[in-house]
């Protein structure tokens, strides 16, 4: 009785140790005394030999992000760039992955190094002006064969599938930023100057137009005023001529008197000859 109970317990333990589950997000590798014998990719309830015969190692089989540390690369035209790449990868061949690296952290380091050297090589074949341009000629920053190249190495060496390689950021080393800033400042000051001188140009055009219009208005007014005066003078001359024609001799006499009176105003000196008729008038005819 007691013996059958202990056998039953032993059997239950053995059974419990022989059953395991694999999550939908995992891949499991079954090891026989440390040597991989089976890869389980289908999730669910699985059987195995009890420990220590079989061991199960699990890995995340979802796509994983690998952020590569920023690295300085040189373009073909010798411009320094700081690139920050990222990689999306997942375990494809768990046994190879286990044999080759075993540890995801080691895989990350190896992948990072691979990606940096491949990207450096790719950008070394590009001119900076090809990467940054507002023309339609912009080429993809990373060449189309970069991903297949990295993927082939990853698959063969690490048992992983590389889904994508991208540049998260592309920038300039700090000391090169300074020269960009210099250029940006120069460009802005050129634009600002252009705005200001355009403004001045427009302003002087407006002033000149106003001055021209003013001159035109004044000239027009002067012309009109001269016309008015001329017509008045003409009309007056006609009136005087009319009077003249009535008695020219008397008219001239009157006119002379008037002229003499006008000329001999205050401060004038009238010199009278003692033999003339004017002296006669002054003396009242008493000689």
């Amino acid at each position: 009785m007691r013996r059958s109970l202990s056998i039953g317990l032993l059997a239950a333990f053995a059974l419990a140790g022989s059953v395991y589950t694999v999550d939908a997000r995992e891949v499991a590798v079954v090891l026989f005394f440390g040597k991989p014998v089976e890869t389980v990719t289908e999730p669910g309830l699985k059987m195995r030999l009890p420990w220590p015969l079989h061991q199960v190692v699990r890995f995340d089989k979802r796509a994983q992000l690998l952020m590569v540390e920023p690295a300085e690369v040189l373009t073909r035209d010798k411009k320094n760039l700081v690139v920050e790449a990222f990689l999306l990868w997942r375990i494809n061949d768990a046994e190879r992955f286990l044999e080759a690296v075993g540890d995801p952290d080691v895989a990350r380091t190896q992948l990072s190094d691979l990606v940096v050297s491949r990207i450096a090589a790719a950008l070394g074949n590009r001119d900076f002006s090809e990467l940054m341009t507002t023309e339609d000629t912009q080429v993809a920053m990373l060449p189309a064969d970069l991903l297949p190249g990295i993927a082939a190495v990853g698959s063969k060496r690490l048992g992983i599938e590389v889904l994508d390689v991208r540049l998260r950021q592309i920038g300039l080393p700090l000391q090169n930023e300074q020269s960009i800033y210099e250029r940006m400042r120069a460009e802005r000051s050129r634009i600002a100057n252009a705005y200001r001188s355009e403004g001045e140009e427009r302003a002087s055009a407006i002033r000149a137009e106003a001055d021209r219009k003013a001159a035109e208005i004044l000239a027009g007014a002067d012309k009109e005023a001269m016309g008015i005066r001329a017509r008045a003078d003409g009309a007056a001359a006609k009136v005087y001529a009319q009077a003249y024609s009535e008695d020219p001799e008397f008219y001239l006499f009157m006119r002379k008197l008037q002229t003499a009176e006008t000329l001999l105003d205050e401060g004038s000196v009238l010199v009278v000859d003692s033999n003339g008729p004017l002296f006669d008038a002054l003396t009242g005819g008493a000689k």
Partner: protein, 278 residues
């Protein structure tokens, strides 16, 4: 016996409670059986086999999530630098793909969005980015980033990529501000000139009116003067016709008298000059 019963009841209760699942609206419960995805439950009360046979994980498919990459410095197509701040709004479109697709969903999303943003900015000019190109940038980034995400089967949907801020780096900000103030100056100069013009022209029109008016005044004066002169002449002519000699003498004498009142009169006798008045 009693203790055994209590233990049994507690165990049963624990099993029962691990079998019940309440799914809020907007959530989806993914049911795993021995680790494999078996089915999903949408809103309401559901039941599944107890642990360790089945378990569930809740995924919120209605929440709009926000990912914030922080401020990034990027190079424009005309080799200027801009500082850009993005906010990515996204949600889970496919809960199963979301569970199985990516180990680092949000970080991958940020990486993809930054990567396509950088590519698009590398084709744009700084002036367009700081003005009208911003909406285009948002739209192009959304489209391109979603296309990349769909290649990976992430179960994620980008609802919006919002460019919260885009500006020149602090080191050159003053230079950019000076451009806007120069644009203001341009306006100011023109406005000042227009002010001058709108003051000058009425002034000149006033002067012009003054000149023609004074000509008209001259004209009126001239006419009046002439007709006065002629009227006087006519009446003197009448007098003269009546008494020719006396009228002439009278007129001459009057004129001399008037002259004598204003002018200095000197008399010349031989070599001697005598001053009569003043």
């Amino acid at each position: 016996m009693n203790i055994k019963g209590a233990i049994g009841a507690t165990a049963l209760l624990a099993i029962m409670s691990s079998s019940l699942v309440t799914v809020d609206s907007g959530d989806v419960a993914v049911i795993y059986r021995f680790g494999a995805i078996d089915r999903t439950l949408t809103s309401g009360l559901g039941i599944h086999a107890p642990w360790p046979i089945e378990h569930h994980e809740i995924v919120d498919v209605s929440e709009v999530r926000r990912a914030d990459p922080g401020q990034i410095r990027m190079l424009t197509g005309d080799t200027n630098l801009v500082d850009i701040e993005l906010v990515i709004q996204y949600s889970v479109a496919d809960p199963m793909a979301y569970q199985l697709g990516l180990a680092d969903g949000e970080a991958t999303l940020i990486g993809v969005v930054l990567s396509v943003t950088k590519d698009i900015i590398a084709t744009m000019t700084v002036d367009s980015l700081l003005t009208t190109g911003r909406a285009q940038l948002q739209q192009d980034t959304e489209t391109a980033a979603q296309r990349v995400l769909d290649q990976y089967a992430t179960g994620l949907r980008i609802d919006a990529v919002e460019v919260r801020e885009i500006r020149p780096p602090p080191a050159v900000l003053d230079a950019f501000k000076d451009v806007s103030s120069a644009r203001g100056d341009q306006e100011t100069f023109a406005l000042a000139a227009e002010g001058y013009a709108s003051k000058r022209l009425p002034e000149v029109r006033g002067m012009a009116a003054e000149r023609t008016e004074s000509a008209k005044a001259y004209s009126a004066g001239r006419t009046a003067h002439a007709s006065g002169d002629v009227a006087r002449f006519a009446s003197l002519l009448q007098a003269k016709q009546a008494a020719p000699e006396s009228t002439r003498t009278q007129l001459w004498a009057e004129a001399i008298e008037r002259v004598g009142q204003t002018a200095e009169v000197h008399v010349l006798r031989g070599e001697t000059e005598i001053v009569l008045n003043k």
